[in-house]
């Protein structure tokens, strides 16, 4: 049916997200949790993530404006952000978070700021891609929204 090409498109979109390193296995874990009772589980989680992490991003932005930088606080904030990001499988975002924390530990202010900018880019990029993905998935229908690797 007309769903097939859409399904194929969805599958290919999904595959590219993994191949390009935007998502990791944790995302698959979420997909496996999705079932008939919660057909949009993954989307719900991701939505929740972006809503909640926006707060953390804001806090990080503010903390990075202070002079001098409070590395310990920054590290703490980023720790939270990293935990959250890793729980949805946001691979690139998580990598930037790790890098950021290392700069915090070594007290590298410039490294922190540079990394944070990069992190925000990845964060935004992933969001767009996932939005597209979920939009397509919703069009196809709940049962077929996630192409689970068997």
């Amino acid at each position: 049916m007309e769903r097939n090409p859409m399904r194929r498109q969805l599958a290919s979109l999904r595959k590219s997200l993994f191949d390009q390193g935007y998502l990791d296995e944790q995302f698959m874990e979420l997909e496996q949790l999705q079932d008939d009772a919660n057909p949009n589980f993954v989307e719900e989680v991701v939505t929740l993530y972006y809503r909640d992490s926006a707060r953390l991003i804001l806090n990080l932005d503010h903390a990075l404006e202070r002079r001098p930088l409070d590395f310990s606080k920054l590290d703490g904030l980023m720790h939270q952000f990293k935990g959250s990001s890793s729980s949805i499988g946001a691979k690139k975002v998580k990598a930037e978070s790790t890098l950021f924390r290392e700069y915090c530990k070594s007290g590298n202010a410039e490294g922190c700021m540079r990394t944070f900018q990069q992190l925000k880019k990845e964060y935004a990029t992933l969001r767009k891609k996932l939005e597209t993905y979920f939009q397509l998935a919703r069009q196809i229908g709940p049962m077929e929204s996630a192409n689970r690797p068997k």
Binding site: Q26, E29, L30, Q32, L33, N38, F41, E44, V45, L48, Y49, D52, S53, G76, H79, Q80, K82, G83, S84, S86, S87, I88, G89
Partner: protein, 679 residues
């Protein structure tokens, strides 16, 4: 997943019946496991909830630790296991862990994105039954039910054990301790196979999961009552039955008390272990059951301990001692009672240390100071009393018996004690409290062990004599306190003649046990003299640890022992010992003590307990021998031969103390007040 939470709460009663009843467990288990998950991150919380539901568990989620605690308190038997994040804004995950362990005795699994070794270790020492690294996978959650079963089994075992070995609670606790995975060496006098024993024990039970055991929620008040009862009885004598009687709480069973006591001891041990660990020593004490983590509760206790160690006015100390002594009018009993008293304090110390750490440090520090102040010319009598005091105090710090020769050995201990006071406080206390006076010694040894200061260890080994004969003459330097306070101790003259030897030996043995492998040189770790009591009164700021350390013979050299013995003898002699008796028995005592070491590893305080027991047996023989030893009235100076690099030890010790003391900023007595401790 509101549904799940609703279901979770609704199903609490049903799940209770299903899961706890036991009959239907086999069919559904682990389905229906009631899980409480706490995480401030909503994304993680949502995911975890979904995963747990997928595992067929009944899930209740909270995003705040306070909420979780209140839920747990409201519905005491409504949950089987708790999953908690480590980093939470309103309360530290470890603190929550302690609260839960203490009050509800539920298995708790910690989670964190942080996989650093330190954090994971912290989870272990605080008694978490598992630690999951985020992001958590569902596979990891599928098996969490094992922790519930394991805990049930252990509790059931405790139940059985407590029933059968009420009197000798020293012994039975072994297995219980073993159950609590951590190195509850206490109970492993046979072999300190912490894990192994634990596993063996669990293997023995087949149906623990079906055992329907009503869960008692240990509220703050209840725990305070418990602690008060334990303090009153003395940690060594704190038998579940007696505790139960003292507490006089309707509906509370002896098994409940027994299991709680178990945890309490582990907690104390853990505290000392934590502090030691902090000092960068391999945590010997793996007491993992930090259920008694609530600092608040401890604070009260800790205060007392602190008081005991150095802050208590002489009067209170004397009172305590009297109480302790009074209890043991019998000669043999005295040392122990004193110890018990002290033990109580020591419990508190560990707690302090745990949570706040500072106070203990403070106390320790003081104690250390006290040692410095110990006049080298301590009269034997004083020494004896000191010894008693030390023993009773259960503070490892003072435990170093100022025995002459032993002092050298003890000194390292002392030194360590000082250092470890903070750390070992908990440990020592645990040890001592757990069992008897010997414990004290063990506890003393423990700190040493953990510190890894050879001197400490060694002192232990050679101490048997020390223990017995409060070689005060020697230790004067070490036990500044005891000496001074000796006079204060009503029971100073207690059983030195006859029992002291025994008790001392016991304590020595305990030390040795603790020290066991690690103690090499020090050999004569201070016998569990709760010098603290003395110290308190005395409060000499100058801890003559140095002297003490010097005095300690690093090994169980018979010579050193001899010296120690000599001192003790003189001390004892004054007390009424037949000086002629203790001659040359040092060796035998030492040997006996040594033998004891071999019996078990003194891994932790726990093992010390066992050792103590053995020690006691051995001590009997040793006592005789000890008595025959001649206590030379060696002046402190003599006593402290430069066996160890005392200077080094001292400085190290002092440094530790200092560092420890510095951390005492947060002493937080928020829960338990000192009222609990009967003085």
């Amino acid at each position: 997943m509101n549904v799940s939470s609703v279901k979770g709460s609704m199903s609490i009663s049903s799940s209770t019946s299903t899961w706890k009843a036991g009959d239907t467990i086999s069919d559904q288990f682990p389905a229906g496991l009631r899980v409480l998950v706490v995480d401030d991150d909503p994304t993680c919380l949502m995911i975890l909830e979904k995963m747990l539901i997928a595992c067929l568990y009944k899930v209740t989620k909270c995003n705040r630790a306070e909420t979780a605690l209140s839920k747990l308190r409201e519905n005491k038997n409504g949950y089987d296991i708790v999953l908690s994040d480590v980093h939470m804004p309103d309360m530290d995950g470890f603190k929550l862990l302690e609260h839960i362990g203490l009050e509800m005795d539920l298995p708790v699994i910690m989670m964190s994105a942080d996989d650093g070794k330190q954090v994971v270790m912290k989870g272990v020492t605080h008694g978490a039954c598992d630690y999951l690294i985020k992001p958590v996978r569902i596979e990891a959650l599928k098996n969490i039910w094992q922790h519930v079963v394991r805990k049930r089994k252990n509790e059931w075992k405790e139940f059985e054990q407590s029933g059968s070995v009420e009197e000798g609670d020293r012994q039975p606790k072994q297995s219980d301790d073993a159950d609590y995975s951590s190195s509850a060496n206490e109970g492993n006098w046979k072999g300190s196979k912490k894990r192994k024993d634990e596993e063996e024990e669990t293997d023995e039970r087949d149906d623990t999961s079906t055992l329907k055991k009503p869960r008692v929620v240990w509220s703050v008040e209840l725990h305070q009552q418990f602690v008060a009862a334990v303090n009153q009885l003395g940690i060594d004598k704190a038998v579940p039955k007696k505790i139960l009687e003292l507490m006089n709480v309707p509906g509370l069973t002896r098994e409940n008390v027994a299991s709680h006591l178990q945890k309490y001891r582990l907690y104390l041990r853990r505290l000392s272990g934590v502090s030691q660990h902090q000092s960068n020593l391999s945590t010997i004490i793996s007491a993992q059951d930090p259920t008694f983590g609530s600092l608040s509760s401890l604070s009260g206790l800790d205060l007392q301990t602190l008081a005991a160690t150095g802050q208590l006015p002489a009067q209170s100390l004397a009172r305590l001692q009297a109480a302790g002594l009074g209890r043991a009018t019998a000669k043999s009993g005295i040392p122990i009672t004193l110890v018990d008293q002290r033990n109580i304090f020591s419990f508190e110390n560990p707690k302090l240390r745990f949570g706040e750490g500072q106070q203990q440090h403070m106390t320790n520090k003081q104690q250390v100071n006290l040692l410095h102040g110990i006049p080298t010319t301590m009269e034997p009598k004083q020494l004896v009393s000191l010894r008693h005091a030390a023993q009773s105090i259960g503070n490892m710090n003072m435990q170093v018996p100022p025995h002459g020769a032993q002092n050298s050995q003890n000194n390292p201990l002392l030194m360590q004690m000082g250092q470890q006071q903070q750390q070992s406080r908990g440990q020592i206390l645990v040890d001592s409290t757990i069992n008897h006076a010997p414990r004290l010694s063990s506890s003393m040894g423990q700190p040493i062990l953990s510190n890894g200061i050879a001197t400490n260890v060694s002192s232990r080994n050679g101490i048997p004599e020390n223990i017995r004969a409060p070689g005060y003459s020697q230790t004067p330097s070490m036990l500044n306190f005891p000496v001074n306070h000796a006079s204060e101790l009503p029971g100073n003259s207690f059983a030195l003649g006859s029992t002291p030897g025994v008790s001392i030996l016991t304590s020595k043995g305990a030390f040795q046990e603790d020290v066991n492998s690690e103690i090499k040189g020090s050999g004569g770790l201070m016998p569990s003299y709760d010098v603290f009591n003395d110290l308190n009164q005395h409060k000499p700021q100058s801890w003559e640890l140095q002297n003490v350390g010097m005095a300690f013979d690093t090994s169980q050299h018979s010579n050193s022992l001899q010296g120690n013995l000599d001192l003790t003898q003189s001390a004892l002699g004054q007390q009424g010992f037949s000086s002629g008796q203790m001659n040359g028995h040092n060796r035998s005592a030492a040997v006996a003590n040594k033998a004891m070491f071999s019996t078990g590893d003194v891994k932790e305080l726990g093992s010390a307990q066992n050792v103590n027991q053995h020690l006691n047996n051995l001590l009997v023989d040793n006592t005789i021998r000890v008595k025959s030893e001649r206590v030379c009235d060696t002046s402190p100076a003599n006593i402290f031969p430069d066996h160890f690099g005392q200077d080094d030890l001292m400085s190290a010790l002092l440094k530790q103390q200092e560092s420890v003391a510095s951390s005492e900023n947060e002493f937080d007595f928020d829960g338990y007040s000192m009222n609990n401790i009967p003085v």
